[in-house]
C-alpha cells in the first residue's frame, strides 16, 4: 500500500509508467492540444449541418441535441478538473454562484496554500450539500489532504459523509465556530476571489464586495456569539 495514498492500491486503471512524469506530461499535453484542435474542426463541421438545406429539420434538431450533449460532457470534464472559468456567463443562481465561489477558493486557494492544505471559511456557512460535494471533488482532484470546514455542523457532517462514502482520503476537521484563523481564511478567500475576478472578469467587483460583506457580517456574528 502506498502510505501517501491508500487508494492507490485499488487503482487498476493507472497505465504502465513509460518515461518520466515530465515526459508523459509533455506527450499528453501535445495530444490534448491536437485533440482540441480536432474537436474545434469537428464541431464547426457538425454545426454547419444546421445551415444545410438538404438536411431535414428533425435531423437538425438531433444534431443540435447531440452537440449540446457532447459539449456538456466535455465541459463537465473540464469543470471537474479546473473549475472556475468553465462556468461562463449567464444568470447564476445562488447554488451555482456558491459552487463557483467555492471552486475558486479551492483552485486558487490550493495555489496559495502550496497545494497541501486549504481551509474554507465563511462561504461554507451558505454552502449547500451540492457545493460541498463539488468542493470535496475539487480537493481530491488537486490532491489536497485536509479540508477544514468552518461551516455549519450539518454541512460539515454531510461533506464528511460524502467524502467517506466516495473513498477519498481527505481528512476533515470542522468547527461550529470560526476561530482565530478565520481572519486568515477570509483573507485567502478575499485574495482568491480578487485574483479570479481580475483574471476572468466573471464576477463583478460590486457583486463580490456585496457577498464578502455578507460573509463578514455573519462571521462577526458567529465570533460574537
Amino acid at each position: 500500500m502506498n502510505p501517501e495514498n491508500p487508494n492507490k492500491e485499488n487503482n487498476e486503471t493507472t497505465p504502465e509508467v513509460v518515461g518520466s512524469y515530465e515526459e508523459q506530461e509533455a506527450s499528453l499535453s501535445n495530444e490534448i492540444v491536437e485533440e482540441l484542435a480536432e474537436y474545434e474542426e469537428n464541431l464547426e463541421q457538425v454545426e454547419s449541418l444546421v445551415e444545410d438545406e438538404t438536411i431535414s429539420d428533425s435531423m437538425k434538431e438531433r444534431v443540435l441535441s447531440s452537440i449540446d450533449k457532447i459539449s456538456d460532457e466535455l465541459q463537465t470534464k473540464f469543470l471537474m478538473h479546473f473549475g472556475g472559468s468553465a462556468i461562463m456567463g449567464g444568470a447564476l443562481g445562488l447554488q451555482e454562484y456558491l459552487i463557483q465561489t467555492q471552486q475558486t477558493i479551492v483552485e486558487q486557494g490550493s495555489l496559495l496554500a502550496d497545494g497541501n492544505q486549504v481551509a474554507i471559511a465563511g462561504v461554507a456557512m451558505y454552502a449547500t450539500v451540492k457545493s460541498l460535494q463539488f468542493a470535496a471533488d475539487k480537493f481530491k482532484a488537486f490532491g489536497v489532504k485536509r479540508l477544514v470546514n468552518k461551516g455549519t455542523v450539518e454541512g460539515a457532517e454531510k461533506a464528511a459523509s460524502y467524502i467517506t462514502n466516495e473513498g477519498g482520503r481527505t481528512e476533515i476537521s470542522f468547527s461550529r465556530e470560526l476561530d482565530i484563523n478565520a481572519a486568515e481564511h477570509l483573507s485567502m478567500y478575499d485574495e482568491a476571489w480578487k485574483i479570479h475576478t481580475e483574471e476572468s472578469g466573471e464576477v463583478g467587483r460590486s457583486q463580490r464586495n456585496s457577498e464578502l460583506k455578507r460573509i463578514r457580517t455573519e462571521a462577526s456574528q458567529v465570533l460574537a456569539s
Binding site: P15, E25, N42, L43, I67, E73, F82, G143
Partner: protein, 50 residues
C-alpha cells in the same frame, strides 16, 4: 474553451498537483476529447447518410 484558456488551465494544474496526479488529469482530459471527437464524427456521418 479556447486553446489559450486550456493551456493556462494546464499551467495552473501543473502548479497545483503532484506529477502523478497531473498525468492522470491529462489522460482523463485527452480521453474526454477523443471521445467527443468520435461522437461528433458519428453525428456528422449519420446526418450525411440520411
Amino acid at each position: 474553451m479556447t486553446k489559450e484558456e486550456l493551456q493556462e488551465k494546464l499551467k495552473s494544474a501543473k502548479e497545483a498537483t503532484s506529477p502523478e496526479e497531473r498525468v492522470k488529469i491529462l489522460e482523463d482530459i485527452r480521453d474526454a476529447l477523443k471521445s467527443a471527437n468520435q461522437e461528433l464524427k458519428q453525428v456528422y456521418k449519420e446526418a450525411m447518410s440520411e
